[in-house]
């Protein structure tokens, strides 16, 4: 860091994300590193801010460690000899690597309750995600490019549903699903997640579709494409990034859900989150299942996170209001 003053550190992120107006500003770049003829900060101030930079770095490293430690604890616990669990802390695995074993995972994967639950998680998550993306895209397109009476009012009504808490539907849908005979099956959570995923899907995709240049659609129309073909051959391919963000958000939302599945599934249709929750009532005794089980349930979301950072962040950011 010796080559740059504190001032340039502040304004000099390594990524090109400074806004255009700042880049275009006449004095920004030279003055920021103190060489542009502007009054330089006093030597004392620069020393102070540089040593402050050292403190800052230490603080941030400590924070990063603080944020990593809990997850690391789970990971280390899940790879330890079960006999050691009650004897010593998970951190001793680093000084005594002989404790390392994947025994808990082989036990876990031989546990039918857990593997069935994992399969149920997939069977709930995939249809919920696909249906929300498809229905959301259709409605979003209609709100963006079709003419019908009261279009904007309908759209506003849908957006109004964005913040409706899922809690309000638990009791009514428990009744409804009981009446139509899907209570206790995976159909319940799928329907529930489709219903509560749609406002955000319609909102996000309508806004994305509205940005598509009109000329593009008109050109396709001149080629003789009907509305349905236009949607599938022009609009959907263009909407890739938005559909990906939405799909990732919805996928994680359903994958990570506990409350809805806890109410609407039974032991044969329960997803992983519910199966693990049943183990938490006797936490210490069941840690041998819970540690690897929790890791199994979070490894998919983490993989999605690292593989699709950009779509993930924009999806989660926009959908966090749920």
């Amino acid at each position: 860091m010796s080559e740059s003053s504190a001032a340039s550190e502040f304004s000099g992120p390594t990524e090109p994300k400074a806004p255009a107006e700042a880049k275009a500003g006449p004095v920004t770049a030279p003055s920021a590193d103190g060489t542009g003829g502007r009054p330089r900060p006093s030597l004392a101030a620069r020393i102070a801010s540089r040593s402050g930079g050292g403190v800052l770095r230490v603080f941030l490293i400590l924070m990063a460690l603080l944020w990593l430690t809990p997850t690391l604890g789970l990971l280390a616990s899940s790879f330890r000899d079960p006999g050691e669990m009650t004897e010593s802390g998970w951190w001793t695995v680093f000084t005594e690597p002989s404790q390392f074993t994947s025994e808990l995972y082989s036990t876990l994967l031989g546990n039918d309750t857990i593997t069935d639950a994992l399969v149920n998680t997939i069977w709930i998550t995939v249809p919920s995600t696909v249906l929300v993306v498809v229905f959301g895209a259709m409605a979003g397109y209609a709100f963006a490019w079709m003419d019908f009476k009261g279009r904007d009012w309908w759209f506003v009504a849908v957006v109004g549903l964005l913040v409706v808490p899922i809690q309000i539907a638990l009791i009514p849908l428990a009744r409804l699903f009981g009446d139509i005979g899907v209570f206790g099956s995976i159909v319940g959570p799928i329907l529930f997640h489709v219903g509560f995923g749609l406002p955000f899907a319609v909102f996000l995709l309508r806004n994305f579709f509205a940005e598509i240049p009109r000329e593009l659609l008109e050109a396709a129309r001149l080629d003789g494409a009907g509305e349905v073909r236009l949607f599938f051959t022009v609009v959907m391919p263009l909407a890739g990034p938005a559909l990906a963000s939405l799909a990732i958000f919805q996928f994680l939302w359903v994958w990570n859900d506990l409350l809805v599945a806890l109410i609407f599934t039974d032991t044969s249709s329960q997803p992983l989150t519910v199966a693990l929750t049943r183990e938490t009532r006797a936490f210490s005794q069941n840690i041998e299942t819970l540690a690897p089980g929790a890791f199994l349930s979070l490894v998919i979301p983490l993989a999605v996170f690292f593989a699709f950072q950009r779509q993930f962040v924009s999806g989660v950011m926009a959908g966090a209001v749920k």
Partner: protein
């Protein structure tokens, strides 16, 4: 959507790009409109809109649904003990968590602007957003385990405590029955039967502790020497590994017990006290002459074991800590995106005018970020009102009532043994009313920015 990885998010939950006046590309046939809209509208109607109406209606009836009780269930929200506790805890959550998380996000966003590895740092902080509240709950149950040999939180607390406060307790030690001391079988206090006098060093042997388990591994005990009119003596572990040594005699190999408090007692009153040194010896002033010696119970109390994180008084702060761990990344990324849009010239101008970094932050950066901070804060507030999984998983069953929040109470009341759909619906409607202002703000903003 062209956002750089993890450094910028979308415009915000309520951000709507201004829509241009659009017309259908085709003169759309009504049948096609219905085809495109119907699936979504049916789903929304049956699964979101209908439940709102049903809940309002159901909340006016009693638990079985037969008797009309008017607003009685809403009264119960405030008078039913468990529900009222849940309401209070939700209020605590709303008062603390959004401010805490927004503050953390602001600190991280501003501070990471200065470092080169900000992307790595942001990835680490943001990562918990990906995992389920269930997994986070299990992670933090592990963190908050009471035993300092298992829970990392207590391991740290005990480590820090023992660094600053010397741990001197010998919980397992006791006075042997063949010694001159009387007392209970364990935990003390132990008092000598005879009185002490100057010139005759007192011998206070203790047993019950394996020599290799003496904390701090002190050296061998030394027999105290007479020192004028002072009362001297030794407290030591009268036991050698592998046997040997004579009972009641300091033989030079047995372990000293440093830090033991020794009191001189006359007629039930403490006249003097001392603490044993590294070699186990102590010296009392001459006032102690003729007194009985006592080893108070504090010497034999349990070692410090950290905090009861999941006990009734700390459980809510502990769960809020887990929540902050999950959501700080969300606040940080949104605020960092806002920060990227702040005009650097304004900050630079303030610096040129002589403002220090704190003043620049306080008077320029924060006011410029105000709109983003409000969005983050409000989003977190809505989220916190509905918190369920974390509390349900982290709070052990015995303290569930102390940690209860509205969304959890709804679940317990409606789907637990009480099976009270009336009160459950009333709680749901209360939650709905709490987020209603945000819904109205969303709609108004959309109307303003939308076409015409």
């Amino acid at each position: 959507m062209s956002t750089p990885a993890v450094s910028a998010g979308a415009a915000g939950p309520a951000g709507v790009p201004p829509a241009k006046p659009r017309k259908s590309v085709l003169g759309t046939k009504p049948g096609v409109v219905v085809l495109f809209l119907l699936p979504a509208l049916i789903m929304l109607g049956a699964l979101v809109v209908y439940p709102i109406g049903y809940s309002v209606w159901r909340s006016l009836y009693d638990e079985t649904g037969d008797g009309f009780v008017g607003l009685g269930n809403y009264g119960d929200v405030f008078t039913d003990d468990a529900t009222f506790t849940a309401l209070k805890n939700t209020a605590i959550w709303v008062a603390i968590a959004p401010a805490l998380v927004t503050g953390l996000g602001l600190i991280f966003a501003v501070l990471t602007e200065r470092v080169r590895w900000q992307t790595a740092f942001k990835l680490i902080i943001f990562m918990p957003m990906a995992i389920s509240m269930l997994a986070a709950g299990i992670i933090f149950r592990l963190v908050y385990e009471a035993d300092p040999d298992q829970g990392v939180a207590n391991a740290v607390v005990v480590g820090v405590h023992d660094t600053f406060v010397e741990s001197t307790a010998y919980p397992k030690a006791s006075a042997p029955n063949w010694s001159d001391m009387e007392g209970p079988r364990a935990k003390g206090p132990y008092t000598t039967k005879s009185t002490v006098s100057a010139g005759e060093p007192a011998l206070l042997p203790l047993v019950g502790l394996p020599p290799d388990k003496v904390p701090g591994d002190p050296g061998p005990a030394k027999a105290a020497e007479a020192a004028g009119d002072k009362i001297t003596g030794t407290v030591w572990l009268d036991f050698q590994k592998g046997g040997g040594g004579e009972k009641g005699v300091v033989d030079g190999k047995e372990s000293a017990l440093p830090g033991v408090k020794v009191e001189a007692v006359k007629d039930g009153e403490v006249v003097a006290s001392a603490t044993t040194g590294d070699d186990g010896t102590f010296a009392l002033p001459k006032e102690a002459d003729g007194a009985q010696l006592r080893l108070p119970a504090s010497n034999f109390g349990a070692a410090y074991n950290g905090l009861d994180w999941l006990g009734p008084s700390l459980v809510t702060p502990a769960v809020i800590g887990a929540y902050a761990w999950m959501w700080a990344g969300f606040a940080m990324v949104l605020i960092a995106a806002g920060l990227a849009g702040v005009d650097r010239n304004l900050l630079e101008a303030a610096r040129v005018d002589g403002a220090n970094e704190w003043q620049v932050f306080r008077r320029v950066t924060v006011p410029l970020l105000a709109p983003v901070l409000v969005v983050v804060f409000v989003t977190l507030m809505i989220n916190v009102m509905k918190i369920f999984d974390l509390v349900y998983i982290i709070a052990p069953e015995p303290v569930q009532d102390d940690a209860n929040v509205l969304a959890l109470q709804l679940y317990l009341v409606a789907f637990g043994p009480r099976a009270d759909y009336g009160l459950g619906s009333a709680i749901a409607i209360v939650l709905f009313i709490l987020v209603l202002p945000v819904m109205i703000i969303n709609i108004r903003r959309l109307r303003k920015e939308g076409p015409r």
